[in-house]
Amino acid sequence: MAFAIQFVIDVLSLGGAYALMALGLVIIYGILRLVNFAYGELIMVAGYTMYLSSGSSLPWLVMAVLAVGMAVLFGILTDYAAFRPVRAKSVTAVLITSFAFSNLLQNAALLFISPRPRNVPLPEIFSQTVSIGGAITPVRNLITIAASIVLLAAVAFLMRKTTLGIAMRAAATNFTMARMLGVPANLIISSAFALSGFLAGVVGILWIGRIGTVVPGIGLEPLLVAFIATVIGGMRSLPGAVVGGFLLALIDTTLNYTLSQDLLKFRDAFTFSLVILILLWRPEGLIKGPASGQRT
């Protein structure tokens, strides 16, 4: 029983984080049909903001808000630096500029901060554990589950009930038509990047909370997770991203429990093989996105 509880908590907390990561990537992809390779660096930005503000006497929550704010800011900055100038030219051009921008941010962190890990301030509660039904689990896992439930619900509310969200969904299927109704293209795109940055910021704090330090390459794993989860779930569907995130977490956690120490090192390779199998079966991913959709 305790094992089952442990397993479920692991899957849910990992899956929540994965789902948020994937969601942040798909929000951009859904609207622009463009992949943001600099997405992982938003998590890095959140981490370094925490590190840089750790010297101040600000309460932790303020630091966290600041970190999320910086991630939002850099999200919007990504649009201006890597997307807007080349958006109309070609898909490959944007892939390359966002990849270059990702390298730029990473190396800036390397140059101006340090290649070595830096400690990130975390509240006491992140390192405490509780016992649930005999299973001992870190409190931060429960925080992650709670945070992801709240955020997923908030994103669902935003996309279903607010004018901005409905306009974003409309823009994802037919950008030109949305503009013809008066929905400003730039507002939609900036909102998408801001939302993406917001999700990256929150997930960044939760993610870094597991290790307690930040390095320039911290964004790689979340980026990869978001990539794989979105490919599994379907590149253009928001629910697909969430499903993909939880499914990937289920696969990873199962492998964590079943593989021997020797094989565990190859976990990513096993996960990837499973992804290939899923894609052989469904090249579009599990959930198909909106029916139509041209790029702008």
Binding site: T163, R169, A170, A178, M180, L181, G182, V183, A185, P290
Partner: protein, 235 residues
């Protein structure tokens, strides 16, 4: 009301529209006729701001909207219903209509009144309010895009081939509706291939062929022009 002068449009290296001039007066229903590839839809898209004009000018109530982008054109009071019948398929009918009123989103009361008015005009849409627009029939989708455009409370409505691909009975109904809209005082530019239907509701008409206007006049004049079918089929 709407004044187009010397408009030219390029599609890549091809000049799709060459020096077209026409006008639509207040409260008028003007029809733009022509075969496939005559340049009608390019003209419409250009007026709507979705295509850039290479030359010429577009004036709306005396304001120059030639270089305006789509979101500025609708704010200037010109709504467009494109021929591709672009409903947002995953959004419900109500959400589609709500987006139609995007530029008036602060005026909830006005929107509600407008919506009620449209629901009496299109009772079908009221019934299907919470259904995804993608599940509607072709005729219902056409009604939805027209109703959505009207939610913006435009002073000029551009209708691009509202009869395209619809059954005759439904085409009949759509044209009845267009008459109703005209009677309400709305200025309408109607692009059609269905010449007889279009002329039955239009005050005046222009005929386009290969990117230029080859004939113009009142609906009667155009109807009585013997070489109309030659222009039309030859396009």
């Amino acid at each position: 009301m709407l004044e187009i002068t010397g408009l030219s449009i390029n599609y890549g290296a091809i000049r799709a529209v060459r020096g077209v001039s026409f006008s639509v007066g207040k409260g008028e229903l003007v029809s733009l006729l022509g075969a496939n590839g005559a340049g009608k839809s390019s003209t419409i898209k250009c007026i709507a701001g979705a295509l850039k004009a290479a030359e010429g000018s577009i004036l709306l109530e005396g304001r120059d909207i030639t270089a305006a982008n789509p979101e500025q054109v609708i704010r200037a009071g010109l709504a467009t219903v494109p021929e591709t019948r672009d409903v947002f398929p995953d959004l419900t009918v109500a959400e589609n209509l709500m987006l139609g009123a995007y530029i008036h989103r602060r005026d909830q009361v006005g929107n509600r009144q407008n919506l009620e008015k449209l629901h009496t005009l299109f009772p079908r849409l009221a019934e299907r309010s919470s259904q995804p627009a993608g599940t509607l029939s072709g005729g219902e989708q056409q009604m939805l895009v027209i109703a959505r455009a009207l939610m913006a409370r435009p002073s000029v409505l551009l209708l691009d081939e509202p009869s395209l691909g619809l059954a005759p009975a439904i085409v009949e109904r759509i044209f009845e509706m267009i008459e109703t809209l005209k009677k309400s005082g709305l200025t309408i530019l109607l692009v059609e291939q269905n010449v007889n239907q279009a002329l039955s509701v239009a005050d005046r008409a222009y005929v386009m062929r290969l990117g230029t206007i080859v004939a113009s006049g009142t609906a009667e004049e155009i109807r009585s022009t013997s070489d109309l079918s030659a222009h039309y089929l030859g396009g």
